[in-house]
């Protein structure tokens, strides 16, 4: 497929505005990934102070979300974009929401640290948390991948992210099964179990946002909405385009 994607716009200001928006979004992606990694680190190092930092850092992400929305509104109002420009703006509007929500999920993980280590309650054992670390690695990798696709619009990457999303479900199943063995082993673990499940649920949502972003990227490039399609249909459509 040939496209004039690299072509400069007649209004150079329009190009500048789009670039600015792009870098805002990339910045948000980087920050969201960092938030998750930091949050998981606090869990690992039992550093509740840093966990508080992670939580307060989430407001940065919220602010960027608002900034990006403002930029989008301004561009639409001023330039009346169409076609790819329009799709990109609409999709970017959604992507920033996904990133903002992904940031919220990272905040929930930091919240786990505080619940586990600030109170007097008994912290969970390392074994149980290991599942969270692997899952966090996996979903932050998904978001990183999505953001790199956002940069170069190479849809092979997007397909990869969508595939990772499918595998995420399988992983979740096995982690939950693993967790239940811990409870059977030692019923004292039940106290932390709810929190752990909620953490896993947050990470799963984080991966879900990354997957949605990949779907938006397909929309930017081809103009059809893949969020509610099966992966086979998506891959087929991409191949066909």
């Amino acid at each position: 497929m040939t496209t004039i994607q690299g072509e400069g716009h007649i209004f150079t200001r329009f190009d500048d505005e789009m670039k600015q928006l792009h870098s805002t979004v990339v910045g948000m992606g980087v920050l969201a990934v960092k938030q998750l990694r930091d949050a998981v680190d606090t869990l690992r190092t039992e550093d509740t102070e840093k966990a508080h930092d992670v939580i307060s850092n989430d407001t940065k992400l919220n602010q960027l979300d608002i900034d990006a929305d403002e930029q989008i509104t301004t561009i639409i109002a001023k330039r009346a974009p169409v076609a790819k420009d329009l799709r990109e703006l609409i999709a970017v509007g959604k992507i920033v929401s996904e990133l903002e929500r992904a940031g919220d999920e990272a905040r929930k993980i930091a919240g786990l640290t505080i619940r586990f280590y600030e109170g007097t309650s008994r912290p969970p054992n390392e074994e149980i948390l290991r599942d969270i670390y692997t899952l966090a690695d996996y979903v932050s990798g998904m978001l990183e991948k999505s953001m790199s696709v956002f940069d170069d619009l190479d849809l092979n990457g997007a397909v990869e992210v969508l595939n990772m999303g499918l595998k995420l479900d399988d992983q979740l199943q096995s982690i939950l099964r693993h967790l239940s063995t811990f409870i059977m082993e030692d019923s004292r673990n039940v106290g932390n179990f709810v929190d752990i499940v909620l953490g896993i649920r947050a990470l799963e949502r984080f991966g879900g946002h990354a997957k949605n972003i990949a779907g938006h990227l397909v929309f930017i490039k081809f103009g059809f909405d893949v969020r509610h399609e099966g992966i086979d249909v998506i891959v087929k459509s991409i191949r066909e385009s």
Binding site: T2, T3, I4, G6, E7, G8, H9, I10, F11, F14, R79, A80, P81, V82, A83, K84, D85, L86, R87, F222, G223, F224
Partner: protein
């Protein structure tokens, strides 16, 4: 260096279309039950070819917008549809253009009759230097469409009403049409065109000389007229094309690059040239 690379990519795309004699229009050129069909239309000015193998249908009760950069041939093509190009001596048209299945370039087709069936509205409002009434009545009288004065009065009133001008001019029907504002003049020209009940109305950049409010009125009017007429409009305003049309045709250097539903053209055009033009990346 980056600039060089950029301009190369669109040039390449352009060459693919322009240099390819077998280039086929992207998208669906045909519609069901068309008012007019054009197949392989070529237009030459002397030795210079202005339109290359353009094939497209104009649907019934639809507005088809023709867009493209200056000099892409969209106006030239439009003027073939009621043989307005006949007045230019060096202009030659080949291919088939059929109105309700009748070849309009056939020997048996009378050009006066054709132009009565295919009305036209021009870029610059061009009312006759006559009264508002006479402007609308002229074509009706010319073709003898009214049997008596009261019928003529009726047609004039109905046409002005359809053109949304009646309330503004009913107290000055005997005043010169040239004394109206630009937007009113253009609506007068539309009233003049619809007074003779054409089957198809061609509009050649009808709003290019008007301010935004007058433009909005005309666009509104075009949408209403669609209930009764088929309309082909050439416009250099992509937003206008997006607003008033159901189908859009993108012309580039004399070739029809892409035709499709307006909604698709403006959200996900298929051809790169269309995309580049409507997003303002060249043109």
């Amino acid at each position: 260096m980056n600039e060089q690379v950029k301009s190369d990519s669109s040039n390449l795309l352009e060459r693919e279309v322009v240099d390819n004699p077998d280039f086929v229009t992207v998208g669906d050129i045909a519609v069901e039950n068309p008012a007019m069909t054009c197949r392989d239309v070529n237009v030459y000015y002397a030795d210079k070819q202005a339109i290359f193998d353009v094939s497209v249908d104009i649907g019934r009760n639809e507005v088809i917008a023709m867009i493209g950069p200056s000099g892409c041939g969209k106006s030239t093509f439009l003027r073939c549809l009621n043989r307005m190009n006949d007045t230019i001596e060096i202009c030659r048209v080949t291919g088939d253009i059929a109105l309700e299945g009748e070849d309009i370039y056939a020997r048996s087709m009378d050009v006066v009759l054709l132009r009565a069936r295919v009305g036209m509205v021009f870029q610059k409002p061009n009312p006759f230097p006559k009264s508002v009434y006479d402007n609308v009545a002229y074509g009706v009288r010319l073709h003898g469409l009214a049997r008596n004065k009261s019928e003529l009065d009726d047609i004039v009133e109905q046409s002005l009403k359809k053109a949304g001008l009646w309330n503004e001019v009913n107290d000055r029907l005997d005043k010169p049409g040239t004394g109206l504002s630009g937007g009113q003049q253009q609506r007068l020209c539309i009233a003049r065109a619809i007074a003779i009940s054409p089957e198809l109305i061609l509009m050649d950049e009808p709003c290019s000389a008007l301010d935004p409010i007058a433009t909005a009125r005309i666009e509104d009017l075009i949408d209403e007229l669609r209930q009764q007429y088929s309309i082909a409009i050439v416009t250099h305003s992509m937003q206008q094309a997006a607003r008033v049309s159901q189908r859009t045709a993108y012309f580039h250097l004399g070739k029809l690059v892409e035709v499709g539903p307006t909604n698709d053209i403006f959200t996900k055009p298929i051809h790169g040239l269309t995309e580049g033009y409507i997003t303002g990346r060249f043109g």
